[in-house]
Every structure is written in C-alpha cells, then in structure tokens.
C-alpha cells in the first residue's frame, strides 16, 4: 500500500524513493520503539517503577488495606490555646532553626471575630505538589503516607518550596552555627542538623515512628513513637495515629468530630485534619 503510493508519487515533482527495504526498516523501527517505550515506561526496566501507583494514576490507596498504614494527625482548633509548645518541642527535637520553624502557630479569627489559634505542621499530602515537582526525587511519599526528604539527594533548587501550597518547607540558607536554645528545656535533640543548601520540613518525627515500630510500639499511643508536638500539647489538641486503623486515636477523633482539610480544592489530599472551632470557620 505504502509502496504503491510511493511509486505513484515518483511521477510528481516531490520524489519519495521508498524501497521495500526502507519500508521494512521503518516499520521495524516503529515496532521496536513501541516495545521499547512499553518496556521503559511500565516494564521492569522502567525507571518509574519505584514510583507509587497512586502518584501516577491519581488513585487513592485503598483505605484500610491490609498491612498498610497511613500516618495522620488531627488538630482541634477549638482546643488550641496558642501556647506554641508544639513549635518549641519540634524545634528542640528536630534541631530546627528557631526563626524558621517547621511547625507554626498563628492567631486567627472566625467570621464573627472570635479569635482562635491555627497551627500547621507539614500536612503530608498524598498528592504532594512538592513531590511532583522535585527534579531529582529527593522528596517522596512513603508507603505509610509520610512525605520525607532525602537530604543527600536534594540539590537545593527550592522548586518544592515554591510549589508547596502551605508554606511548609524551609531552606538551609547557610551552614548553621546557632545554638538551639529550645533544647534541652523543650526536648532533647534527636536528629542531625541538615547541611547547608538543602530543603527541610516537618517529618512527623519519622525517626520516632520507624524506631518505635521496630520496637513494637504504636505511634500515636506510645509516647516514644509519637511526634514531639503531639506529646507536648497541654490541651490534647493534636492527636496522631494510623488513619487506616479505625481503632487508632486519630481515627476515633475523626469519627466523632466534623473535620476539614486545608485547601481541599487543590486535590493535595493532606493527612492532617482540622476540627473547626465551635463557631465554625469562614467558608
């Protein structure tokens, strides 16, 4: 068919000399490319195979799937008294620079003018914009829902900082030499300082969770395995646990309270749920 067309075209001014050999070569190349593309995108050779399926397809991980955990937190805005203990404990435990805290607390107001306090850790989005944009895959969503950083891989381009809708990321602008004045009053420093030139953020105290699970502890129940901000909260505004386990503390709170998540319309699927203050929040 193609050859016939080609022979026909020879009479016109635009000469296309397509021999059978050329045609077969082209067909073979096309077929080989299709196979190669398949193998490279979905097959075992694929560099994408390590990506989570939910990141690629936009599907949710099945809630309550056997064996998978999804660490999450609830924050009761009505209970929060704005003491900033969570910021301090976080700064001490994770050795965060004091003027660039991972955990922030700000005073806010409802529609009626009643003030309340709003605090924000990293929200550990399941469709995290920061994860999508990182050019080297230095930040990623773990199977247990945590969004973590690989400080050895980060090149410090700060695209994640630009992309995060919640301003949860901080860059190490300089080699740190400051003294952490929050330790040891508010907790003992548990992890190393991050090097100059990489981005960092709240990890839900991933070091505690991993170490705690290895010892058979339950994050959210046992203090050693629970994020520092949750432990220190004097009014119990923060609750942590496995969102996939209906018996976990956080699931029980979520089941008995109305909740919302920050900027849900962006589709980022955060793992942090907020309980609105009694008067409700502005719509």
């Amino acid at each position: 068919m193609t050859e016939k067309k080609a022979r026909g075209k020879k009479k016109t001014r635009v000469v296309v000399r397509l021999t059978r050999r050329d045609f077969l070569t082209m067909a073979g190349t096309a077929a080989a490319s299709v196979v190669a593309a398949q193998a490279l995108t979905t097959g075992p050779l694929s560099p994408f195979s390590e990506l989570r399926q939910s990141q690629v397809s936009g599907e949710h991980p099945a809630d309550g799937a056997a064996g998978t955990k999804h660490w999450g937190m609830s924050i009761d805005l009505g209970r929060c008294i704005g003491c900033e203990y969570c910021t301090r404990a976080c700064t001490a435990v994770n050795d965060v620079k004091a003027d660039e805290p991972w955990n922030i607390v700000v005073q806010e107001r409802t529609d009626n003018g009643r003030s309340f306090f709003f605090s924000r850790p990293c929200l550990h989005c399941q469709h995290a914009p920061c994860v999508e944009v990182c050019p080297v895959g230095a930040t990623f969503v773990r199977d247990d829902g945590l969004v973590v950083m690989d400080y050895d891989r980060c090149i410090g381009c700060r695209y994640c900082e630009v992309a995060c809708p919640y301003d949860a990321r901080r860059f190490n602008w300089e080699e740190r030499s400051d003294e952490n004045t929050f330790a040891p009053t508010w907790g003992l420093t548990e992890i190393d300082r991050r090097p100059r030139g990489v981005v960092e953020k709240c990890t839900f105290c991933v070091h505690r969770i991993d170490a705690g699970l290895a010892e058979g502890l339950t994050p959210g129940v046992d203090l050693e395995a629970t994020p520092a901000c949750v432990n220190i909260c004097p009014v119990g505004a923060r609750v942590f646990g496995d969102l996939n386990d209906p018996a976990s503390p956080v699931s029980e709170v979520l089941a008995s309270h109305p909740t919302f998540r920050l900027r849900q319309e962006l589709g980022t699927e955060p793992s942090v749920y907020y309980i609105p203050p009694d008067e409700g929040i502005p719509s």
């Binding site: 994408f48 806010e108 080297v136 891989r153 630009v162 901080r170």
Partner: protein, 407 residues
C-alpha cells in the same frame, strides 16, 4: 604612517578592543568575587527568602534560554524548511544559542543550594517534574548545539594537527537536518516547559493558567532571531565590515515583528482572561495586591507591552524604520529587554503574593519584600561578562559569518 605600521604588526589589538577587553575583565572580576562569596557562604548572602526563594537569577536563566532560541528557530528554517538563504546567519544564531544556554547553566549552578550535586537530575530521575525534563532538554540541546557547531570548531587552524578529528567534525555535520529536527522538538518542549514550571503550580493563583507555556515559547521564538539580527548589526557597526546581506536581516526583523504581534495578541487575551471572564477570587486578590502595592503594572505595561513589544514591532515592521540598522538594533535590544522584564514579572509577581491557606479571616496578605542585593547583581554582571566575552572571542576567532564576497 606609524599607526599604519603598528596596526599591521598587531592588526587586531586596537585601543578600542583593549578598552573592551578591560571592561569585560572588570565584569568577570566582579562576577568572580560575587560567585566566590555565594559559594563560600551559601545563599544566605542573597536577599532570597523562604517566601521568595526564586528571584533575579532565575529571571536571568529564563531570559538567557529564551534569547538563545534563535538557534533552533533559524536551524529549523534552514535545515527543515529548506530556506537556504538564511544559511549565512545560522552559525551566529547557533553560537548565540550556545552562549545563552551556557549562561543559563552557569547562573543555575550558582542558584542551587548544592552546586556539587548539579549532576543529580541526570542520575536520579523524577519523570513527573517539569524541572527534571527541562534539565534533560537543556543538556541534550547543548550537545546538539555543540555537534551542529563542530565543523566550525574543527576548521580552526588549531585543529590542523588532528586531521582525523577534523574529518569527524565534518562527518557529524551531515546529521545537521536530523539534529535540527531533534533540536526543534526539544526546544519547543523546554521553551514551553519553562513556562509550565510556573503554570502547573495550582497553589499560586497568578501562575496557574494554561497560557503560561505558550506565552513563553512564542516570545522566545519571536525574539530569538531578533537577537542574531541585532548582534550582526552591532558587530558590523564596530568592525565596519558588512557581514550579512541587510535584506536578510530585515527579513529576520520582520519575522520577529510578526512573532511579537502574535505574542501580544495572546498576551492581551491572557490579560482579558485573567482579569475579566476567567478570574477567580484568588487571582483577583493577588492582582489587586500586585497592582496596588508593587510596580507590577508599570513593569507589565511599560516594560513588557510598550518597550518590549509595541516599540520593537513598529521598528521592525514599519518600512521607514526597518531600513535603518540603527533602529533595527534598538528594536532588537528593546525586545530583549522586554523578555527580561517579562521573566522577572512572572517570577517575582507569583512569589511576592503570599500563599493563603489559613482557614481564618485575620490573615491579610501583604507582598513579601524582594529586591536583589549587590551579591546577586554581582553574579549577574559576571555572567553577562561571560556572555559578552564569549561573543567577542567567537567573533574574533570563529568564522561565524560567511566570507565576504570579493569586491
């Protein structure tokens, strides 16, 4: 007579050139000092913050890559569309492209927090990231430019010693049409992806729009050839020798003028969409803040629309002006300036409006401050010095222009 004898002995080292070299040396020295400070102390020495983590340097990256777009546009015109009469300007355009891309890479290396890990995107892949794709495209495109340029390099007297290398350089050039095709695809991809870098970010109301990649790629295609055109005129003015037929350069100017008109058309539709019928409360608030409290409007209307588009379009298209090399060079310079203005406006305007994520009503967004400091300007002066030095070297030592016909 003595001056004549002197100029015969050193035909190229005129006082003017000496002064120019000294000027470039000063620029490079300033850049070197600033770069050393950044590399030693970290990005703390800049005025960038966690709220505005991208600034002047990203503007320069984006501008340099856009201004290098003449390489792929003219290569495609000659090797793919077969308009051979543009052949004489392709070498210069490819060389300018090479300078633009290396300038961008230099600035990028300064801008990332870990310059020692510049190679990570090649090894650690995240195929979902626009920035990863841009890094790959720029790398591949730089290789394409080098291969396209290989025959010119190996023809230097220096390479007489290695005849095999020379013939290899020429043999590679047979692939020029294929390279032009690959270069065209890759350039279209990354020139637009640079816009997508901003356009995909849902959380930033100013940036999040589908027109972003299109405006980036069209502005690059429009201005790229004008850069080659203006450079040729300036070089002719300095050396006093006619390098390329002026008819050809005028055609380039006309192409750029029409390209800029297309760009203006899309920009005005974009403006209408963003400010009228496609507006959202978030983008409204952001624009309100920008217009009320920052010189965004001035930058947009004066920098981008009037100086960057309207004036060059008139100079490029109106017969009275486009016969004069002076007006065409001025037009080219203004069009370049317009690109820089645009990239600056895009980058900074999206960042100075803070993110609104808090559920309360107390939070009133105020623009985040960002004015580049001396160190940032120093690095920019240095990379501009690098670009000018490369251009000078290329014009002096490389056969960038076709040999003048015997008079």
């Amino acid at each position: 007579m003595t001056t004549l004898a002197l100029s015969r002995r050193l035909p190229w080292l005129t006082p003017g050139l000496l002064a120019w070299i000294a000027f470039l040396a000063v620029l490079l020295a300033i850049g070197g000092v600033a770069a050393a400070e950044v590399l030693l102390k970290g990005l703390e020495v800049t005025n960038l913050t966690d709220a505005v983590p991208w600034g002047l340097w990203i503007t320069i990256d984006l501008s340099a890559i856009a201004l290098g777009a003449g390489a792929f546009t003219l290569s495609a015109v000659v090797y793919l569309f077969g308009l051979k009469r543009f052949q004489s300007v392709v070498r210069l355009a490819v060389f300018i492209g090479f300078i633009g891309y290396t300038t961008a890479l230099l600035t990028l290396v300064m801008d990332i927090g870990r310059p020692d890990r510049f190679w990570h995107p090649w090894v650690y892949w995240n195929v979902h990231s626009v920035l990863w794709e841009i890094t790959w495209c720029i790398t591949i495109y730089l290789l394409i430019l080098i291969v396209e340029f290989a025959p010119i390099i190996v023809d230097l007297r220096f390479f007489e010693r290695w005849p095999r290398l020379r013939s290899l350089g020429h043999r590679i050039h047979v692939a020029a049409p294929a390279l032009a095709l690959a270069g065209l695809l890759i350039s279209l991809l990354h020139q637009s992806s640079l816009g997508a870098t901003y356009g995909i970010l849902r959380s930033r109301p100013i940036w999040f729009k589908p027109s972003m990649p299109i405006m980036f790629v069209i502005s690059a295609i429009a201005v790229g050839p004008a850069v080659a055109m203006a450079t040729t005129f300036v070089v002719e003015w300095i050396t006093g020798k006619r390098k390329i037929e002026h008819d050809l350069l005028r055609t380039l100017a006309r192409f750029s003028g029409l390209g800029l008109l297309l760009y203006a058309y899309i920009k005005i539709w974009d403006l209408a969409a963003v400010s009228y019928y496609g507006r959202t409360p978030a983008s409204d608030t952001a624009l309100f803040i920008l217009r009320g409290q920052t010189p965004y409007n001035f930058g947009f209307w004066v920098g981008e629309m009037i100086l960057g588009i309207a004036v060059p379009v008139i100079l490029f298209l109106v017969p009275r002006f486009n016969r004069s090399p002076f007006y065409l060079s001025v037009g080219g310079g203004l069009a370049m300036l317009g690109i820089v203005f645009n990239r600056w406006n895009v980058t900074v305007s999206g960042l100075v409006v803070p993110l609104a994520y808090s559920p309360g009503t107390l939070f009133q967004p105020t623009p985040q401050p960002y004015i580049p400091n001396l160190t940032e300007w120093g690095v920019v002066i240095g990379v501009v010095g690098y670009a000018l030095a490369m251009l000078t070297l290329g014009i002096r030592f490389l056969p960038l222009f076709p040999k003048p016909a015997p008079e």
